[in-house]
Amino acid sequence: MKPGLPACFFLAVGLMVVSLPLSAHHGAAEYDNTKTISLQGTVTALQYLNPHALILFTVKDDKGQTADWTAELQSPNLLSRRGWSRSTLKPGDQVVITGHPVKNGVKAMTGQKVVFTDGRETPNMGLPSDSSK
């Protein structure tokens, strides 16, 4: 995705990306794992708190209307071990977030993958490997 493109909303029903578990406290029952969406938006805040980090962001549709969205990530502990920190995302950052939407239709999703619109990538959010290294 190139920077400067109008904000887009992609919905891919049945498309399976690598699913990351929302482990522990919360579970994943609220999310429709059969659907994957990608949203381009502007970060409002990264709440880097246990049990799960939340990205608050706004999405502008083709008519210029903005909507507030929330993406739920892993716990900060797991993210930190993959290279994330509280300053990985800052207010104003332009990002594309890919994940599963919630079932009840509100503007919330999991954050399976987060990339900046200028091409930079955030650290992988996968679980630690079975290697001791």
Binding site: A24, A29, L54
Partner: protein, 268 residues
């Protein structure tokens, strides 16, 4: 003469610690502590293995369910062998599911209660094992739960108040630490499915290093009040020598998170 006096004063002062040490070494060891060196040392930070253990269950929750085995080591098929009491308890529990959000569940984990044993092993967070004379300590990052496994030869506590993580004593069989835990309350679940247990739960764990970087925990649950037969399972952990435990406070984000959970709850 003066030199001789100085010599004996100095010698006496220097000898005192040695004499005291010799006396201490003849004193019976205080109950509750031993200085015996354990035959194996599991000290380190360990992380649950992702897929190479019996724990892997669903694509979205790898490692977050136990696979229960019968006495011959074969996976149990069909429903768990619950007693009538156990079935009643299972019916009374409301786990998360396709139509039940965390906020509508009575899962004790979602209320930030301690996880119990063996459920604490299901969480994708590290634990640190520390050997100290007479005890092996298990420090769990998730929820900051701790277990003290007394290896000084003591028995279980008598008339102890039932607890979330139980009363653990251990002994060594070769390089295997055998841990015997009783004294649980009946408030924790065995997994996300609401699988119950009673306060008669007796957990036996055999913890051993299968190679330098891998720890295997064989777990047997004996709970005749809730289950018609003992249940077995296994959990593998990987050594993470460069890791330290981090703070994890379940309630940290609770106000924001509660609002988020209310917003995203599944409509019935």
């Amino acid at each position: 003469m003066r030199t001789r006096i100085v010599f004996w004063v100095c010698a006496s002062v220097l000898l005192v610690p040695f004499l005291l040490h010799a006396q201490a070494s003849q004193t019976p060891k205080a109950k509750g502590r031993t200085d015996d060196r354990p035959p194996a040392d599991f000290t380190g930070v360990w992380y649950p293995s992702s897929g190479s253990t019996l724990g892997a269950a669903t694509p979205d929750n790898p490692g977050q369910q136990f696979v229960w085995l019968d006495s011959e080591g074969k996976p149990l098929k069909g429903p768990l062998p619950l007693t009538a009491w156990g079935q009643e308890r299972l019916k009374a529990n409301h786990p998360t599911g396709p139509n039940t959000s965390a906020i509508d569940s009575d899962d004790p984990d979602f209320q930030c209660f301690p996880s119990g044993v063996p459920r604490i092993y299901l969480f994708l967070y590290p634990m640190e094992l520390i050997h100290t004379p007479g005890r092996v300590l298990m420090l769990f990052e998730y929820g900051h739960n701790i277990r003290q496994i007394f290896t000084d030869g003591r028995g279980h506590m008598q008339d102890a108040e039932p607890s979330w993580m139980g009363d653990s004593i251990g002994h060594w069989e070769g390089d295997t630490l055998v841990v015997d835990t009783t004294g649980f309350n009946d408030k924790t679940w065995l997994g996300y499915g609401g699988q119950p247990h009673s306060d008669a739960l007796h957990v036996t764990e055999r913890i051993r290093r299968i190679d330098h970087d891998s720890l295997m925990i064989d777990i047997t649950l004996d709970d005749p009040k809730a289950y018609a037969m003992p249940l077995h399972t296994q959990k593998k952990y990987i050594l993470k020598p460069d890791w330290n435990l981090m703070e994890f406070v379940c309630e940290d984000n609770s106000l924001n998170f509660l609002e988020f959970e209310k917003k995203t709850r599944i409509q019935k």
